[in-house]
Assembly symmetry: C2
Homo-oligomer: 281 residues x 2
Amino acid sequence: MNEQALVERIRKMAGDTATKLVLGIGDDCAIYRPKAGEDLLFKSDQLIEGVHFLSGLDPASIGQRALARALSDIAAMGGTPKFCLVSLTVPRGWTQSNILAFFRGLLRLAKRTGTTLAGGDLAHSGKLYCDVMLCGAVPRGRGLRRDGARAGDTLWVSGRLGKPWDRPIQPRLELGRKLLRRATACLDVSDGLALDLHRLCVASGVAAQVDRVPAAHGATIEHALHGGDDYELLFTLPPRTSGPRGTTRIGKIVAGKPGAMLFEGRPLKPRGYDHFGIAIT
Amino acid sequence: MNEQALVERIRKMAGDTATKLVLGIGDDCAIYRPKAGEDLLFKSDQLIEGVHFLSGLDPASIGQRALARALSDIAAMGGTPKFCLVSLTVPRGWTQSNILAFFRGLLRLAKRTGTTLAGGDLAHSGKLYCDVMLCGAVPRGRGLRRDGARAGDTLWVSGRLGKPWDRPIQPRLELGRKLLRRATACLDVSDGLALDLHRLCVASGVAAQVDRVPAAHGATIEHALHGGDDYELLFTLPPRTSGPRGTTRIGKIVAGKPGAMLFEGRPLKPRGYDHFGIAIT
């Protein structure tokens, strides 16, 4: 059974418990609808030493990164972050000042983005594990899903792709909010453009043609297409609509086998960075 | 710096981001208030091999346990569970059927308690690590906190204490709901009666006298007082109020040094099971 099939199995096993949700397993975030005009967005994201980052990253950067990854998913839904829960397991060698540095890095970004630290859990074990659960809000029914792209839409990406993995992540929250009521589909590029575009196309039942890709300084086209950890937004707009400042039109959505992709006229494989690494959401 | 002081530091660092919450760091759950007559409860709980359970527990039992621990915290607030996010990291030796068994165990309990699996994250790494984020709801302003006990209240516990750690956990959700509008304080006994009672007393600024403790079959009094993993509810009631069926009056709340405790007239130390093991909530 491949990973996708495994997720399908889990989704089916969850099946009839999903009725309370507007959007359950299958997108960047799950949406639970309270009765007050807004949908709440929830995302949990693990960050594990040796899997999502290499040993040697300093604790403050790890904290920043743990939250930023989850914020990027809220941004991809057009959401505004509300609060997070942080579960952290540290190696025996970590001192309390390491732990504080972790939270400092995390809270600096939390304050800047209006995210409240609402709780969590600490433990000691062999290596560093972190899991951030994030809640965000979006006007009811307006969450940017990945399944709304239609043939004829244009395809856009923010920023430049193929950046070094260990730089601080800047979640595109402002851009995500601007895309509310404009984009037909959106997700964040966390595992490489090719793989994430494939996910968008499969979810929407469409194919895509990519004409160009804005590579970061020093990045190869290969890296811009298949490298992970960009945390830019990939989105589709209806015909004759322009993307906001700082975004680049990279191609278009076409009818075709769902998930099929071309780059400069040649088949583009959905190869990217996959840590096992299955987002169930 | 001890663990408590460390949590205080983190709480202070989080400080001015906490304004969106009715109840932030410092109780079983954080409460975020939507505008529709109910408070939502959120809890995340790690379950780590070698820390929270021993190797050899079967995958379905691990899944059951991971959710049950978080449900117990929702029960302790008098809440009704809504949905959960599950982050799971498995050892390389785990097969996909192990993973499915994990989710089967988890989802069986999820369905029985009305909890929707809303998403999560899977990864491969050295040992088994699981983090469950759970959301529950409670009528607005009615969540059972641990800081409401007053001198003169009676002290109660559900079930029997000192049970074997590897039995399936039965979260006391029905009891928790019955205690809404009745109990003055409540928490779940997850780290041993003595340690959890101490937390209740410190939060409420009171002392306690314990006269007896209902020990499980085969458990010593020592184990009933200081063993962990009971997941029963410990709560206080106003004078002249009876506890629901299946609960036992074990003592009373008195004025005194906050956190001071007596058992059968002798000082009781707040010794229990602490895995590092700090709930930030």
